[in-house]
Subunit: 366 residues, 4 copies
């Protein structure tokens, strides 16, 4: 994720009018050679190999955390205590408890903070939220969301280490629940409000994999697939599913919402499109519209190219960082804050609890 973040730091000021100009003071990673190479490529002025040094530096105002999940809490808390602004990759913590500490730290410090749930900056989804807030959908009945991948189907794939820490439960905290479902949940609560209770099931299809750090075949601790049903505060019902075993799907993050007056759907494989059904259209002409979200009246798009020309994945990070820099001037916190990130962790906690207990679990927000 270091590349997407760095790219955002560089591209945001070129495409958006920003009140401040980011300066890439230093990049930090445990391996000094890697750090130097990364710094050279992306234009960082210096490198560090110990994040504690980074946090201590006076010439740095903002710490961006793009390291594995088990480091988020410690770094974030130290950075906040050192009076830095803090940005953090998702999920915020491995558990809600970790996340709660992090929220406390940044809120005590009173410093701007943000979690990289980048899909909140997909123009199609921003438009969808605008439409929802305008009341165009009426009462919401249904929500559904998936995140389908297929990259861990092979039994030969090992777990752990730099490349595959997402498969190591100690580092990642959980499997697809924290990695993929967290995106679904953040989006769902942003679009459709709080989730009240969940009934979940998880599965680990491949029970043992070689561990890259020990060299031995070890039990797999993560969830390979995670499904849950839930009820939202607004009375709507939903079904969520995340997996890395859906052959043929690479990163199929889907969202659909059905309201009394309108429905919409979206997926990441064509992120520049929004499907929209408006019941107010004349009866015989009602149909799902495929809206190509590339016009100048679509969110963020007047800063890019002419109509019809699509953007890509990394643009969501550029938008998010631009919004963050603007928030420093406006004083309006850029979403999602650490507190928003905690709200997602509270749901993933409930999901994992429900899957274990085989019963409905309430989402406890604090």
């Amino acid at each position: 994720m270091g590349r997407t973040h760095s790219n955002a730091f560089l591209q945001a000021p070129r495409f958006f009018q920003l009140p401040y100009q980011p300066v890439l003071r230093a990049v930090c990673t445990r391996n000094g050679q890697t750090a130097a190479q990364f710094a050279g490529n992306w234009g960082y002025e210096s490198t560090e190999t110990d994040w504690r040094k980074l946090v201590e530096r006076d010439d740095i105002d903002l710490i961006d955390i793009a390291s594995p999940n088990d480091t988020h809490a410690e770094i974030a808390k130290a950075a906040a205590q050192a009076g830095k602004m803090v940005l953090c990759e998702k999920p915020l913590g491995r558990t809600a408890a970790e996340a709660r500490d992090m929220v406390k730290a940044v809120e005590s410090a009173g410093k701007p903070n943000m979690v990289w749930y980048n899909y909140r900056r997909v123009p199609a989804l921003v438009l969808l939220r605008l439409l929802l807030n305008e009341g165009r959908f009426g009462r919401i009945f249904h929500y559904r969301s998936q995140f389908l991948q297929d990259w861990t189907i092979s039994q030969d794939l090992p777990q752990g280490g730099t490349a595959l820490w997402r498969l190591d439960v100690k580092v990642a905290g959980s499997g697809v629940t924290g990695d993929l479902l967290a995106h679904n949940i953040d989006m769902a609560q942003w679009l459709n409000g709080p989730i009240l209770e969940v009934s979940a099931m998880t599965e680990t299809f491949i029970k043992e994999r070689k561990h890259n750090l020990t060299g031995k075949v070890e039990p797999v601790g993560i969830d390979d697939a995670s499904l849950f049903m839930c009820r939202f505060q607004n009375g709507s019902l939903a079904c969520f599913e995340a997996t890395r075993y859906a052959r043929g799907h690479k990163a199929l993050f889907t969202v659909e919402i059905n309201g009394e007056e309108a429905s919409a759907s979206w997926d990441l494989h064509d992120l520049h499109r929004l499907s929209y059904f408006d019941h107010h259209d004349e009866g015989r002409l009602r149909g799902w519209r495929s809206i190509h979200i590339t016009d100048s009246d679509h969110p963020y798009m007047k800063n890019w190219w002419v109509p019809g020309l699509q953007i890509g994945y990394e643009h969501t990070f550029i938008h998010q960082f631009a919004d963050f820099v603007r928030s420093l001037e406006s004083g309006q916190a850029a979403s999602p804050t650490f507190r928003d990130g905690l709200a997602t962790d509270c749901v993933t906690d409930a999901v994992l609890r429900s899957a274990k207990n085989r019963q409905w679990e309430k989402v406890s927000v604090d």
Copy 2:
């Protein structure tokens, strides 16, 4: 459904070589005028207004039940006892208990019997089952299926009576669980094997509606939406959802299955297409194939038109009836039998039980 069945009786022998020629002896409905009109239109030789009379007639070999759900058990049992072959609209019973009695009756009588789960005769789905049986998908990880409609969103729609008995819980037995989910479940168990346990939730969005028979506003007893997660005997996980409140979807019955080696998906809005992903394809050329199921090497299709020309909804009934008539010669029961229909009712029972009890429920087939 009387029209789709009658059409099937007439069309099947014109497009398929059948060992027997169906003769439309009589149609029965409570209103004599309606019966006469229907008989005139479809070429029935006579009419009855009491189904008991029909069952008693010696010139009739087969009784086809297309009346509301609360009549299925009684008619089917009487017909079986009278030594008739019996066809019955789905769901077989309003409950598994009703269905179990019906199975007992037809099996005691030793007469051919079949339930009209017509989607088992969609050529695309027949092909999908062939592919599954050939082992092309490898281990199955995921299954998912929806049936999304939007025709009961209006608060002004009444319940009950001839036109809207599906909204009257006494007649229908349940709401979308028996009406729509039953299709999803029949298809799922046919394609992917037995469902072992379920966790379900249901909702009645509109709590009161005018009743057509009493003229008064009465509580709505049916489920407007029904969702469940489940585990199949083959170890795969699934998510099911049926609703009549998904704005923009008319009859969106969907099926998707993800295996180790291949995946496939289908939906009723383009029933003549199958989406298929084959992991054995060369890496850089892998993609979801949209197969237009209109070639002569596709199930049933050599009996229709030239490649590229699609069939419609009613053709599934024609195929099913043709298969039934052929089964009389071969002696191999045409699927789904009453026993298969019971298997679906056992799952819908478990779904309704789970939604009520808010806990996982085993499917008891006994």
Copy 3:
């Protein structure tokens, strides 16, 4: 085509209220055994093996011509002279000259007549025409239409005889120009008005094929592919293309029309959908709507099934025949008449002329 016509005769009165009831008096084909079998299957009361006999029969009011193109003119003229109503498969004649004679014959006789350009009864296209006639598209700028097939790519396919007369230029008159482009042209002039002039090119990719009648390899006289550009009377420009060498396309008849205020497109592979773009939609929500043409307010559809359930290819013939029977009561000729069929032949003539002369050719209507 005998099957689609016969099916239409039988199905039309079952699904549509008709003022007259068709009676299937006789079927005629050169081979008596074939005729008997066909009559048995479809319920014809008698058979003939000489069409002249058929035309002479007093118990017959209407002659339907479904034989190869080289027989259309002779039979139609004889039938008209005998005072019969005449229906004829498309194209009307092999040339405009043939067609002109046929028009003269039926108009002199003053008898109802119709050409089976069945796609005029696709509900989606009927709706499109309604929208055009309502003025919703404004000034038309562009029209485009294709008919893409791939069934003659193999060099091993022979030409001629009962099964493959479409490849024999003497019988068919031309290749894809008369067989496929004729559909495109009939539809185009029906939707968008008269074509004034064309510039065309044709190609015969495979120059020699075994002839089924002679058993010898003979030159191929038909056009395998036919393309033309044209100008319509309303000032719009168009591009047309038909071929049997478009690998991967089975019967991809496409239509697209772009107007100042709206655009629409359709194709035969999903004949129950219409794509529609309305510039009057709110700017940020403009998109192509995929309209599922299965609602009761769509043309012909209230006579079929509930919303969401599609019809197939043969339904277009059922609609056309129902309209014809109704026209006998209303006195309003059912479209397309022989005169409309001639209008298409005038364009195909101009196309073939232009391809040969390598220059723009005017369409001469009489």
Copy 4:
């Protein structure tokens, strides 16, 4: 286009290993304030307001021309004579004659040169070319390509000046023929070989528009729409169409190719997908594959994100510039060179000639 080029100069070295590091010495535009602002945003070291000064500077090795069409030839020739490498926006010249002079200049100078036909670097199209070169399509029968826009439909849109020079025939040279069709033609000849002869038609739908420079309503000299049919050297037939009057289409550049063994299609609205039909697939499982061109074995894609995450429009320029820089080391000219750009101008010349003369015109390459 200055933004897409500048972005490519900055991004290419961050995502691709390049043998040389581009240095942004100077940006030149007539207005000094604009130049300064642009330089500030994109990191150019200095500015010029007279391109002649730029060409004279010793510290500059490469001139990139992103100004209106009427300046291409003069600047390119001067730059070549000054011994610079030259990159030029498409079309190369307003006419083949202009382009021929430009080719002569760069070839005499012996300096690397390239035209920004950026779509040659869409990964999906690069893959398509690889497949064609591997012989997977067999004999090619058909090619078709469109470029459909709708942004000039309003009569109120003026012509000329900085923003709308594309509508001013003196500056642009032609309308959609040079602006859009040029892309179609470059792609077609790159994929399918030389075009031999064309029959074309053009139209100017709106005959007069206010001119931004004179303030007066003046005749419109450009073509609003341009269509042509053609024959390729390989014997295939094609149909091309470009327009700015296709309501509902923003930048719908489409490509389709039909061969004996395979077919493929692509469009710019979903540039990260390739549709592919392989006749070698098992018969009953043949279908158009929608390949999501985001895997690491797809051209350029291992340098971007993980599978499933799409790229956008500007990436094509980044790829092209990366290839250019690499070509400086390899000595293999990066395509398309000025000579390739001339080949396109020869076809656009023939198209305009044919539309004017209303006859087939041969493409004369030199």
